[in-house]
């Protein structure tokens, strides 16, 4: 009987395609859609990325740091000992896209802001083996040369504010304002970072009002806590 049924749809491509489609949608409907309602709220105290942090996050994505680094601390003792408290869903509420990664060639970075500092990062990006002998992390000298793209970061901030109601400009939340204000905010955030760095190139550019990519990236990493 079964065989007859199957044989019948094997002769009717439209029904065949329909049957395939009906079967493949079920998994997604059950596993993806209901969990949307469980996951979406930000955890208490979680704030959206500031101007410079978001710019740095775009640098992180541009360089595919997620090819080697995870940002997901699983609830195992060995993992929380190494990286800090395990991840909670609400901590990721402003992460578009998520950056959990799937391969740890390098360590997890979800809370790297707790135990690494600006000057360490600077040395590490300039020449990773100077602070981590035997590492295979590439050096990123070009991040000290290329200016950060504040316009695109602004565009993303404005988009998430307007489309997804990310609470920029609300009391107690990071400011956004217009493009000019956003740039001013970024410069203000960059100041202490540039001051803690040694690179002459970065400092000279900053004196001219330009923020190098590495500064934004470090601002982002320092914000990961």
């Amino acid at each position: 009987m079964f065989k007859a049924l199957f044989h019948a749809i094997e002769r009717r491509p439209f029904w065949f395609g329909g049957a395939i489609f009906a079967l493949i949608v079920i998994g997604g409907i059950v596993e993806v859609i209901p969990s949307f309602f469980e996951n979406s709220r930000p955890i208490q105290g979680e704030q959206p990325y500031t101007a410079l942090q978001l710019t740095g996050r775009q640098v992180y994505i541009q360089e595919s740091c997620n090819a080697c680094h995870s940002q997901l601390i699983r609830p195992f003792k060995a993992e929380t000992d190494r990286y800090g408290a395990f991840s909670k869903s609400g901590e990721y509420a402003y992460d578009r896209p998520f950056l959990w990664g799937s391969k740890r060639t390098g360590p997890d970075l979800l809370r790297v802001g707790n135990y690494r500092t600006t000057d360490w990062h600077e040395a590490h990006f300039e020449r990773s083996s100077s602070v981590s002998p035997g590492t295979n992390m590439p050096n990123f000298p070009w991040l000290f040369e290329e200016p950060a793209d504040l316009e695109t970061a602004f565009a993303e901030m404005l988009t998430v504010k307007q489309v997804y109601n990310v609470p920029y400009d609300q009391p107690g939340q990071p400011p956004l304002g217009d493009l000019e204000q956003m740039k001013q905010n970024a410069l203000r955030e960059a100041e202490p970072i540039v001051a803690a760095m040694k690179s002459r190139q970065v400092k000279e550019a900053f004196a001219q009002g330009e923020i190098k990519q590495v500064v934004a990236l470090i601002a982002y990493l320092n914000s990961l806590k």
């Binding site: 990721y92 896209p97 295979n136």
Partner: protein, 482 residues
Amino acid sequence: MSQTVPNEYDYSVAKGFVLSALVWGVVGMSVGLWIALELAFPVLNFDLPYLSFNRLRPIHTNAVIYGFTLSGIFSTWYYVSQRVLRVPMVLPGLAKFHLVIYNLLLALGALSLFLGVTSSKEYAELQWPLDILVVVMWLTWGAHIFAMVGARREKTLYVSIWYYMASFLGVGMLYLFNNFAIPTRLIAGTGSWLHAVSGYAGTNDANVQWWFGHNAVAFVLTVPIIAMAYYFIPKQVNQPVYSYKLSLWSFWGLIFLYLWAGPHHLLYSTVPDWVQTLGMLFSIVLILPSWGSMINMMMTVKGKWEQLKTDPVLKFLVVGSTFYGFATLEGSTQAIKSVNALAHFTDWIVGHVHNGALGWVAFTIIAAIYHMVPRMWKTELHSIKLATTQFWVQSLGIVFYFSSMWVAGITQGMMWRATDQYGNLAYSFLDTVRALYPYWAMRGIGGALFLGGFVLFVYNIVKTINSAPKAAMATVAEPLSA
């Protein structure tokens, strides 16, 4: 409408895709070898953005999956579909457009990844303008599938066609959902035209991504490859498929179960516990249809030991099916929570990937091309001996690859969790990195062997094509079989 002479097969597009499989295969695997060597010898990053591991890695995955594998899939589609549907090429213009837009897309994709334009979501890295091109390209293929099926003369759809159809529908649905993103320039009027922000945030984004990601694997690296196996294995051994019943159960079982297994990429993450458990359970059951197909393929070769000894094409097919069995059993095991706790994030996963990718996907595509090329170009294979050599070289390469990654991955996983007598972590992260260099070097050797074998393959195929009689270079090739 088409002006093709009726009752003749038109292989021009299939041939085009064979060539693009060769080109993208060499590109993707060379980049793969390069990044493998970079992990072992970091100086190879040369401090240049365009040569550094982080930018090259997505180029490798995109070039081998969407370049090499999809080319293989499309070339076999344009070859197999005409034959098992018993209908000459329909809409040849559309098919040519497919070939052109596809290669254009890949070239632009590689360029944009070099420049660091990426969405960061694995296997969906391309940004929105290219995503649109992907959709156009994919719908072009879909239109051709349904046009061919609509025009068919063979009433019943053969198993291979089931799988091609499932691949089209599955990838189409998943790609659309996962790549949903808002181009920021359109909202804000400033910044890069290429940038878009994901339509989902955090845990939800992860959940959608791996619903997609797992099934990108399923509907690109598995389903259409099974389509090939169901055609080329019985053709090559000239024997009937072992069991229609197995074909039936394996197909419907596979496409139903596969879509539930995505959360095995998110075990112990922040997606809800019940989603993880479901994903894990379905990954275990998934072994049934997977081994169903594998056993069906292998049993079709029953009684053909003698041919296996002399025929390199059959060697590729049989070892390919064996690796399908291997990779799926390994996958189901890695999906078990307590195993994944250790295996996730390690090189063992990379080993699993390449058991599937090299042993199963690449071997099956290589066999398909070996089968098709002499028939499409109406000539003899340039050298059987060379093909046999290639087989052994590449097989050795795979052994190097997966054995080094098994040891590396399990070592890494154990070192990350190891504690000393005081309950403290026994190794700093850097200790665990330093411990892996020998295995990364070994994987490099494996990669070099595999790529070397592939270069022999390209040489053999090019020689074969060059030996073709001039007349056969025309678009119209073989008369329709009865």
